[in-house]
Amino acid sequence: MAVIEKTDIVQAQSPAREALRAFRQSWAGVLGIIILLAVALFTYVGPFFYPVDPFEIVWAPLTAPWETSVAPLGTDYLGRDILAGLIHGGSATLFVGLAAGFITITIGILVGAFAGFFRGAVDEFLMRITEFFQVLPALLFAMVLVTLFTPTIYVVSFAIGIVSWPTTARLTRAEFFRIRSLEYVNAARSVGSKNGRIMWRVILPNALAPLIVSATLTIGIAILFEAGLSFLGLGDPNVFSWGLMIGAGREYILDAWWSVTFPGFMIFLTVLSFSLVGDGLNDAFNPKLRER
């Protein structure tokens, strides 16, 4: 099948297949998927192969990596196994990243869709709210929220989600506004479709491309956000996460660089994979702008 130049007239199936092909040809996207899968394996399958409790004190504190087989990547300031921390810390980090990402995307799409579709007073009102959340520095507000209520991973996810949605909302709004005046939307309206149906069945699927790309970035940002909160000591202290490890190891950084470097590297890899996937998707949906 010949490659079709992406135009504004969008149909149902083939662009998806086209996108998939373009994605597979993008080295960024493929690399991203590979890394992401590796991280997921490490996090979710790892515990079965290495069932050491990250909270358990296994050896002398601040042991260097590769010094003892009991703790191959060394121990932290209490004598806990760093490798165990890495393996078990991933699930909390990923959970918060995905949960916060989900909240962000949901609120963002809802707000943006209504604003972009209905315009007028609805738009004005929703935009004021969006502005309010955009003006508050996200981390500061999240810190306040987390300390006002007890910092469990649910509260943390919620706090991150609630300060991050404005960007998604704006993007969605722009897309909805652009698409709503197109031919096929008018066509749907003339057939008598209700607003709801038009919004969710007609417009949204066509706005999906940039939203999906944005979603991958959002998740990456949420993960960094969680790491930041844990680093500051405001994360859930009963749950092991990579950010928590960095925060705990920070005071011992000169004696035990590994307790900070390894978890940081894991966060980096995870966020990187999401960024790369986002890149790949971007290429897939916009082949014109591919610069490889």
Partner: protein, 526 residues
């Protein structure tokens, strides 16, 4: 019959005709800036209305107290050049120096002493310090007579360090609440150093008081107290020479590392009066912890050696009772609760808590002060696997910040909690509050949050608190400690490994029992 204790007798009448009653020996030279590093942020600079180290260190430079103490628990003249105690022990007469002036030039009189004592009594959280005071008479400008309703030997220590700063009546007597008085951030003081600048959370700059009442002192031109975010950066700073002195150094890795330095001295002297204890306190109203055997079992299950040597790298020392070993009142013979898992298990069985599913007897929540990793969180986290060995399922409950923790424990909403509590010199000041029946006050942190009540202990403490004879006091406190340790409302873990790291260039380092919470007018730079 006169019954004067050693402390009082030694201090009866000492002449201080304008020359310094030196507590150190070296001959100093003038000049220089001493930079002290701290991780504690001072809220303001008036210790009369605020307890704690952060206010005490600058506060004791800015404000003078009637007495000061040397390295051997002996009181020395300071603002009071001499003093005497009445025969019945119910009043202390202070004879103040005649040449002492506040930093704004006005003379320091007995009116200021009376005013300061009343301010401390009304505002300072340590109620037991001056509770027996009924009033202060001021027969003349340089004589103050403090009257008590019973003998109060703790008064001497309470009149030193940061506990009774003499504040100017003409500044604070304007009707504003002393706790929020604007002068607290820019004080007019009475001590060797004047206030120069205070940037909250960043630094405090103090300058030499040229009209200090001890001639040729202080030696230093300036003292700067610099705030650091965490112990690591502060340790680095003192190693690099950015900071001249790092008191209250407690992180064991840094202690070990700084000890290796060839231009620093690292000492554990200077903390005898502070008496800092790291302990695990039990809420005796809890269904499991109300049985003494359960508490004792937990005490036997804790391996203090591991904590001291493995967790703290050998830098701290085990604590065994309410009073620290450095104090004259320490009871060396009380039960030490050496590690004995069998005994612990036996006691728990005896108390009627057999092992159930997954080998556990019951569950307990443990709280701890946040941001004190090695001492609090580390030990709490260690207790989880350790107490599992005797069948107690420990759940850690972290507080996001200090006020949350304080509210939980103060509100008796806890099972057991790690805590750090200071002796503050005389047991009356810092120790009684933890064990007295009438100090079970819901809502107040560092009161008797354990709801512990033993009438015999109460009687002993009350008697010891008003006994002027030192040896009798010691005997009374020994007995009290034995009972308390046996009742185990608290199990004591370790003494905080407070050290001071300072440059070899510092002469006459502040190493009296109060350490840096005492005037540094004798300190100089070589």
């Amino acid at each position: 019959m006169k019954k004067f204790g050693i402390m009082v007798a030694a201090a009866a009448v000492i002449v201080a005709a304008g020359s310094s009653a030196t507590v150190q020996a070296e001959e100093g030279k003038s000049g220089g800036t001493l930079v002290i590093g701290s991780t504690q942020k001072a809220r303001h600079l008036n210790p009369a209305v605020q307890s704690g180290i952060a206010t005490a260190v600058p506060g004791t430079q800015i404000f003078a107290t009637p007495l000061r103490f040397d390295a051997n628990w002996k009181p020395q003249p300071y603002l009071a050049e001499s003093w005497s105690v009445s025969d019945d022990g119910k009043s202390i007469t202070l004879n103040l120096r005649k040449n002492a002036k506040f930093h704004d030039g006005k003379p320091i009189t007995s009116e200021d002493v009376a005013f300061s004592l009343q301010t401390v009594k009304d505002n300072h959280p340590f109620k037991s310090m001056f509770a027996p005071v009924t009033g202060v008479d001021t027969p003349d400008a340089h004589t103050a007579v403090i009257n008590f309703d019973k003998p109060h030997p703790a008064a001497f220590l309470a009149m030193s360090s940061a506990l009774l700063p003499i504040i100017p009546k003409h500044v604070y007597g304007d009707g504003q609440d002393a706790k929020t008085h604007p002068a607290n951030s820019a004080p007019v003081g009475s001590g060797p150093f004047k206030f120069s600048e205070f940037k909250p959370g960043e630094y405090i700059i103090l300058e030499k008081n040229p009209d200090y009442f001890i001639e040729d002192r202080p030696y230093l031109d300036k003292i700067i107290i610099k705030n650091y975010k965490d112990p690591t950066s502060l340790a680095l700073a003192v190693d690099k020479g950015e900071v001249t002195m790092y008191p209250f150094l407690a992180t064991t890795k840094d202690i070990a590392r700084l000890k290796k330095s060839d231009h620093l001295v690292v000492t554990d002297k200077g903390y005898e009066a502070v008496g800092p204890v790291n302990w695990l306190e039990f809420n005796t109203t809890n269904q499991y912890l109300k049985d003494k055997r359960v508490r004792q079992a937990i005490a036997y299950a804790i391996d203090r050696n591991f904590i001291v040597n493995a967790l703290h790298g050998g830098q701290s020392k085990a604590a065994t009772g309410p009073i620290v070993p450095g104090s004259p009142f320490y009871a060396a013979d009380a039960e030490k609760y050496e590690l004995d898992l069998d005994k612990a298990n036996a006691l728990l069985d005896e108390a009627g808590f057999p092992r159930g599913d997954n080998d556990m007897r019951f569950k307990l929540k443990i709280d701890y002060i946040p941001n004190a990793a090695e001492l609090q969180k580390g030990v709490a986290e260690y207790l989880k696997p350790q107490l599992k060995k005797v069948g107690i399922d420990v759940e850690l409950r972290a507080a996001p910040d200090f006020p949350t923790w304080a509210k939980r424990v103060g509100g008796h909403d806890f099972d057991m909690s790690m805590d750090i509590v200071f002796n503050w010199g005389d047991p009356v000041i810092g120790v009684h509050r933890t064990y007295l029946c009438d100090n079970i006050k819901k809502g107040v942190i560092w009161s008797n949050t354990q709801s512990y009540c033993n009438k015999e202990v109460d009687a002993l403490l009350a008697e010891a608190g008003s006994e002027l004879d030192q040896s009798k006091r010691i005997a009374l406190y020994n007995k009290a400690q034995e009972i308390i340790v046996d009742d185990a409302p608290i199990t004591y873990i370790n003494l905080l490994p407070y050290h001071t790291a300072y440059s070899k260039d510092v002469g006459n380092p502040p190493l009296t029992i109060w350490g840096t919470m005492a005037p540094m007018d004798e300190v100089f730079l070589k």
